[in-house]
Amino acid sequence: MKEMSVSLRCHKIIGGYGEGAALVSQEPICFYLTDPKTGIVREKTHELFGKTISNRVLVFPSGKASSVVQIDGLFKLVKNGLAPKAMIVKDVETVLVVTAFIAQVPLVNRLERDPLEAISTGDLVKVDANKGTVTITKNT
């Protein structure tokens, strides 16, 4: 069967390129509540509980929690080589911009389609923030 790829426009917030398997969360994410040594989400009530965000293209609605904890959380993952490859969000606020900037993880929003519907966990996703494109290859 032929591989199906679709390319969508997006809006760059933090530039760069990253590709990997998608991990989709319908819930906001706090990086402080992931294990800095594994990247595994340890927030018990979270839908991603027990899954790792490391080396994934993370697709989620928005960040949550204060700047201090959010930055500390993602920065520790970066230092341990466990950060996500790129992040695609629906809503963005100052704290998430600062967090992604410091971690140097590409961050985009305003995908042509709702990213939480267009992308499924396991799809291969290429984020080229500088060009403003997201390429999705469905995992069939």
């Binding site: 700047s67 920065f75 900037f101």
Partner: protein, 402 residues
């Protein structure tokens, strides 16, 4: 976003890599919010935390030769010399991170206030000023009590704005975004800052992201009551601004606060809700190991109250008693004699220090009592009792609460 010729030069590195990085961050925030332009600011407050991410950014700017162009104050880390003399169990690498944070901000030319209430003494905005203030109590206090304009900045975006002397024009810098969202009719008894703390914590939880209006407040809140309402509502929620018509600077009526619109949500707050907040935060009762006051930093007036309450009393042998304040208030407390009164009773008054720092390692497994819901929420100790100042002092003397 439109950038001036000078700013475009900065982005190309003409003013050094530190200034370039600062503007890159601000430009990314501008892009995220579709800001049309950058606007000048007169001052900034960076909520430095002494954590690694914070250090990384401060050093990135400082090593790149950046200097603050407008007065930029700093949040508390901890009094390194004092705490390492006092406790031998604070990890050494923590001291080195804190020391490097101090050095980085010094090289950046910041006002080394190490205070979380800089708007009282060291860095005071005026009505109508555009500023860039991070820190939970600072953002809503500056917007509402003073009537200056700031967004809810992160430590790094505030520092970057201090370096560039500008911020992207977005969010609360635009009049239409200063419109109220929620209405709270307050029926609860509000006798002091502790009641305002509980009220703030409750309001923040309900609002999450939004701008509340509070009515039914029957007297002008004190400085300390405002500070604590701000700190708590911006801890349990993200409240960057609020209205108490007659007592806050913008909007003299409810209608004006809502820009003629109707509230998205309304709620009545009674003593019952405030009692529930306290009970929800508290995890223990009975014997206590220590008392931690001054989150946010106690004002000189509060330090005087502590000294007065401790007059003629002796803190229980098994209890440590800590009061955190600003360097400015500490200097005056030393001069006036409050510091020695507190020490005479067996307590400690300490400047430059936040409750959320590694210097408190000794209390990791202990039971602490505090008058601050924010301290209870971010605590670096095991179990917590929450009560008003008088109760904290009485418990410290008796060695137990309840």
């Amino acid at each position: 976003m439109y950038l001036s010729k000078e700013d475009e030069g900065i982005l190309k590195g003409k003013s050094g890599i530190g200034t370039q990085k600062a503007l890159e961050l601000l430009a990314a925030i501008g892009d995220a919010y579709d800001a049309r332009r950058m606007v000048p600011i007169t001052r900034a407050h960076a909520a430095a935390s002494g954590q690694e991410g914070d250090l990384y950014f401060a050093e990135l700017l400082a090593n790149g030769g950046a200097r603050c162009r407008v007065p930029t104050s700093t949040n508390p880390v901890y009094d390194i010399g004092y705490f390492h003399r006092m406790f031998s169990n604070i990890p050494k690498d923590e001291a080195s991170v804190a020391q490097k944070v101090v050095e980085a901000y010094r090289r950046l030319g910041a006002i080394l206030s190490w205070s979380c209430v800089p708007y009282l003494n060291e860095n005071i905005p005026l009505y109508g000023e555009v500023v860039s203030f991070s820190e939970s109590s600072a953002t809503p206090y500056v917007n509402s009590v003073i009537g200056a304009h700031t967004n809810r900045e992160a430590a790094q975006s505030a520092l970057a704005a201090g370096v560039i002397g500008k911020t992207p024009e977005y969010g609360l810098l635009l009049e239409e975004n200063r419109k109220a969202t929620h209405l709270f009719e307050v029926e609860a008894t509000l006798s002091d800052e502790f009641d305002y703390s509980l009220l703030g914590y409750y309001v923040g939880k309900i609002v999450a992201y939004g701008i509340p209006v509070l009515t039914g407040i029957d007297r002008r809140p004190s400085t300390e009551e405002f500070i604590n309402f701000c700190a708590m509502s911006n801890t349990s929620g993200a409240v960057s601004m609020f209205y108490m018509p007659e007592y806050t600077m913008e909007a003299s009526s409810m209608d004006e606060a809502f820009h003629g619109d109707v509230p998205k949500e309304r709620a009545v707050v009674t003593d019952v809700e405030l009692k529930e907040v306290r009970e929800e935060l508290q995890t223990a009762s009975g014997e206590i190991d220590f008392v931690q006051l001054g989150c946010p930093h106690y004002t000189l007036k509060q330090v005087a109250e502590v000294a007065g309450l401790l007059d003629g009393k002796r803190i229980h042998d098994g209890v440590a008693f800590w009061v955190c304040t600003s360097a400015t208030a500490k200097l005056l407390a030393d001069r006036i004699g409050y510091s020695s009164q507190i020490e005479k009773a067996g307590g400690h008054l300490v400047a430059d220090t936040c409750i959320d720092e590694p210097c408190w390692t000794a209390y990791k497994e202990k039971v602490g009592m505090t008058d601050s819901p924010k301290c209870a929420y971010y605590r670096r100790f095991k179990e917590v009792v929450v009560g008003r100042l008088e109760d904290c002092v009485n418990a410290a003397v008796k060695g137990r609460w309840g």
